[in-house]
């Protein structure tokens, strides 16, 4: 019985995960013959990617996503820690997640309204006769990433911290650790599984986003996601778009393998 109950899932996996992946792989290895419209095998798409223009986009994406992840970690860890120690931590956490119930696009548009030329901040600044270009640059994209993905960092870290055996922390105090050393030697190492899932959950959507860079970067800050979107929706070159996607997937895969290695080093974690 048990074997059969997995059947719908197998079909689902095949239809919506495996098949599209194969299709992307297939497209990425072909080019359209301009006369006949036939798809012909070729590595041209991958060779194309080595164009410095595209490499720069890749680097920019990884760089921005990396910085956003680090900022999320620096902001999110203390936040998770403070919330986990609160009396009504569940409620506070809910309040924290509440903005996420609103549409992602809407929230990003809201930032446009805040940062724009006639936006909230510039209106305030105009009182002092100052004007600042806040929108359509890397910093605006970074802000959008941090704002949108911060909860993904806080949640897993919060979960690990809340579940952590408090007697381990007391044991560290008992054995002579000051609060700071207790954090360094016990709390942080034990919370690493949460940090790693947080980092994964922020980095992955950040490195592949196109909405944030589209709205807040406004063509000034092009990311891999924009490249893919462009190839599929505007240029109508599915083959090249697929090749970029494949490389993006490999990039994320590499990143996750790396994280997994770190995680393994600290196996154990919470109970």
């Amino acid at each position: 019985m048990k074997k059969y109950s997995a059947f719908p899932y197998v079909i689902w996996t095949f239809l919506f995960i495996l098949l599209p992946l194969l299709l992307i792989g297939y497209y990425s290895l072909t080019v359209k013959n301009s006369q006949t419209g036939e798809l012909v095998f070729s590595l041209a798409n991958y060779v194309n990617l080595f164009n410095p223009l595209y490499l720069k986009v890749f680097l920019n994406s990884v760089y921005l996503a990396g910085i956003a992840t680090v900022i999320c970690l620096i902001l999110g860890y203390p936040m998770a820690m403070i919330i986990s120690k609160m009396k009504h931590s569940q409620t506070v956490l809910l309040l924290f997640i509440l903005p996420m119930w609103m549409n992602f696009l809407l929230r990003t548009y809201a930032w446009m309204a805040i940062l724009g030329k006639n936006g909230f901040i510039n209106q305030l600044l105009s009182l002092f006769h100052v004007q600042m270009e806040l929108l359509y640059n890397n910093n605006a994209v970074l802000l959008g990433m941090v704002y949108n993905f911060l909860p993904f960092m806080v949640l897993p870290i919060y979960t690990v911290l809340v579940k952590m055996d408090k007697s381990l922390i007391e044991a560290a105090y008992d054995l002579g650790c000051t609060p700071w050393r207790t954090f360094r030697k016990v709390i942080f190492p034990l919370s690493l599984p949460g940090v790693i899932s947080g980092v994964t959950m922020v980095f992955m959507p950040a490195v592949s986003t196109f909405v944030i860079s589209d709205l807040l970067g406004g063509g000034q800050s092009v990311l891999i996601g924009n490249l893919v979107q462009e190839q599929f929706m505007k240029v109508n070159n599915w083959s090249f778009g697929s090749a970029i996607s494949v490389i993006l997937m490999l990039l994320i895969l590499m990143f996750m393998t790396l994280l997994h290695r770190i995680d393994r080093k600290y196996e154990g974690g919470t109970k």
């Binding site: 007391e170 044991a171 008992d174 054995l175 002579g176 650790c177 016990v186």
Partner: protein, 346 residues
């Protein structure tokens, strides 16, 4: 005063207005094995945590060698704790767990190595340095937790029901080992448990607590033989507790009968409680019998039989190596020195 290593003075701990520890005073001599015994929720663990520094008393003071330590955080107290659920660090090897406190003190590596291996041999786990915590059994983890605390050579070791999660046989072994370690190392132990047998086996001194208050302080034999009130008598082993009247010195009346006893010092005709241990009632057929009843049940318990004899609607719990069949008419005899008289609880 000078031989008091640690002392609690008028200690009070309140949580949201309810008193968990209610104005207790106690002291422990150096190298003594003290057990705080009581049912769950009696305040014994809270008391221990106040000594360890994990809870701040609402009022009162704790003195270590005459100096107040109440304001010191746990990491500045020369006291170490063995936690209920061991609390070993799962991300460290056994070696790193035991060496943890010494690393913090920045002891040289060679000295740490020496002390860790000495500790491991003390707890009979030589060669376990590189093992992971999760690969150890409960009993082994317990030993590591003890080693991790003792390696710091604390003045006082606090133990919070450390044997609670072990099975009976292992627990008995560990009781003896702990007692041996304590005597061998000459460290003061403060041990918290709800297991009266454990307390009687290991302690030099027992504090019995109930509802945040100390009920009695004394040696195991004092507490077993001379319980000060019905709670202690009931908590330490099984006993028969009946109310009675103190007629005059060495004479007491209970169960409608006059008994000779050896207690003195109560007022004439004072209402009192009488405690008789189940093993102290003799079933007899001869003229010495003071009470008469019918055997209601007989259960074999291994070393002895446990019988309930009904006498005038009163139940008497009796332990004897000689069984009597159910329904049999029997006489009961209690020797004068086995009758304990206690002040009646208000």
């Amino acid at each position: 005063m000078s031989n008091r290593l640690i002392e609690g003075i008028h200690l009070v701990k309140e949580y949201d207005g309810s008193r968990v520890v209610d104005n207790i005073d106690f002291w422990v001599k150096s190298k003594e094995f003290l057990t705080i015994l009581g049912p769950s929720g009696c305040g014994k663990t809270t008391t221990l945590r106040m000594i360890g520094g994990f809870e701040t008393p609402t009022s009162g003071d704790i003195l270590l060698s005459g100096k107040s330590i109440v304001s010191l955080p746990p990491y500045e107290r020369p006291i170490n704790t063995v936690f209920q659920r061991y609390a070993l660090f799962p991300h460290m090897s056994i070696y790193d767990n035991i060496a943890f406190g010494l690393h913090i003190k920045k002891m040289p590596k060679s000295e740490i190595d020496k002390r860790v291996s000495k500790m491991l041999s003390l707890v009979n786990l030589e060669g376990f340095e590189k093992r992971r915590v999760n690969s150890l059994s409960g009993g082994q983890q317990q030993r590591i937790a003890i080693a991790r605390a003792l390696v710091n050579e604390p003045q006082i070791l606090l133990l919070d029901e450390p044997l609670g999660a072990l099975d009976l046989k292992l627990r008995k072994e560990m009781q003896l080992e702990l007692k041996y370690m304590q005597q061998d190392l000459g460290i003061t132990f403060i041990y918290v448990t709800h297991d009266q047998e454990e307390a009687l086996t290991m302690s030099d001194k027992i504090i019995i607590m109930n509802k945040g208050k100390i009920q009695q302080v004394g040696s195991p034999t004092d507490i077993y033989n001379e319980p000060e009130n019905a709670f202690v008598a009931d908590f330490i082993g099984e006993s028969n507790i009946v109310s009675g009247i103190f007629k005059e010195d060495k004479v007491v009346e209970f169960a409608g009968t006059i008994f000779p006893c050896i207690d003195t010092g109560f007022a004439r005709d004072e209402a009192i409680d009488v405690v008789v241990r189940p093993e102290d009632i003799e079933i007899t057929a001869d003229v010495r019998a003071q009470l008469h009843g019918v055997v209601d049940s007989t259960v074999f318990k291994g070393v002895h039989y446990e019988m309930i004899v009904i006498e005038n609607e009163r139940e008497w719990l009796i332990q004897s190596t000689i069984p009597h069949e159910e329904g049999k008419q029997v006489g009961l005899y209690i020797a004068p020195d086995l009758i304990h008289i206690m002040k009646k609880e208000a």
